[in-house]
Subunit: 116 residues, 2 copies
């Protein structure tokens, strides 16, 4: 398995970020990662929006989010721990990410997973 690749902040592009977030599944994953107060593992998302996803598909989605610079993934034992890179993103893109998430949450009934 090749090592995970996380782009440096300066290599993250607006187009790349928008591309990654343009998919409904990825946008929801990203929003839930953001809404959660601790790292989430990939398999938390095997069911997204009442729809079951194959794990190969899920793995691709995480890869795209990661390589767009939106999330950071760390292997912890057998699991993958994912967090958003919102602080770095804000440094680079200002309020863009936040305002996207706000618009998304507003139009999707602001459901969010409250974690223990």
């Amino acid at each position: 398995m090749r090592p995970l690749h996380h782009p440096a902040v300066r290599d993250i592009t607006v187009e790349g970020v928008l591309y990654a977030l343009a998919d409904p599944v990825r946008l929801q994953i990203f929003a839930e990662l953001r809404g959660s107060d601790c790292a989430q593992i990939c398999s938390e998302f095997l069911v997204v929006d009442k729809k079951e996803l194959p794990k190969s598909t899920l793995s691709q989605h995480f890869k795209i989010l990661r390589e767009a610079g939106l999330i950071r993934s760390e292997r912890k034992g057998v699991e993958m721990h994912n967090t958003t890179r919102c602080e770095e993103l804000q440094e680079r893109f200002g309020p863009m990410i936040r305002s996207i998430l706000e618009a998304y949450l507003r139009s999707h009934g602001r459901r969010r997973k409250r974690k223990a």
Copy 2:
């Protein structure tokens, strides 16, 4: 030729907007439309970013921007006059569109076409 379709504000989605703006050509077209103080015709963009585009491709890009709700197109004689729908979009999505454009302009050297 079938009539142009512009979605109502309430039918515009975050995902649809992000999808439309995720393409570098469309993002640049949208940014230039926004930066310009009068309506622009499609063929203004036959060359984008020093690269020539076939007009069928350009027509598709405008269609996608239009149907995502980002621009309004009106036929004026033989030409198509395009403007952004930023006011309506702001009503629906708050500062999202503005902050995307700002991030884009910031990272692309803020070149913009100043019109007569």
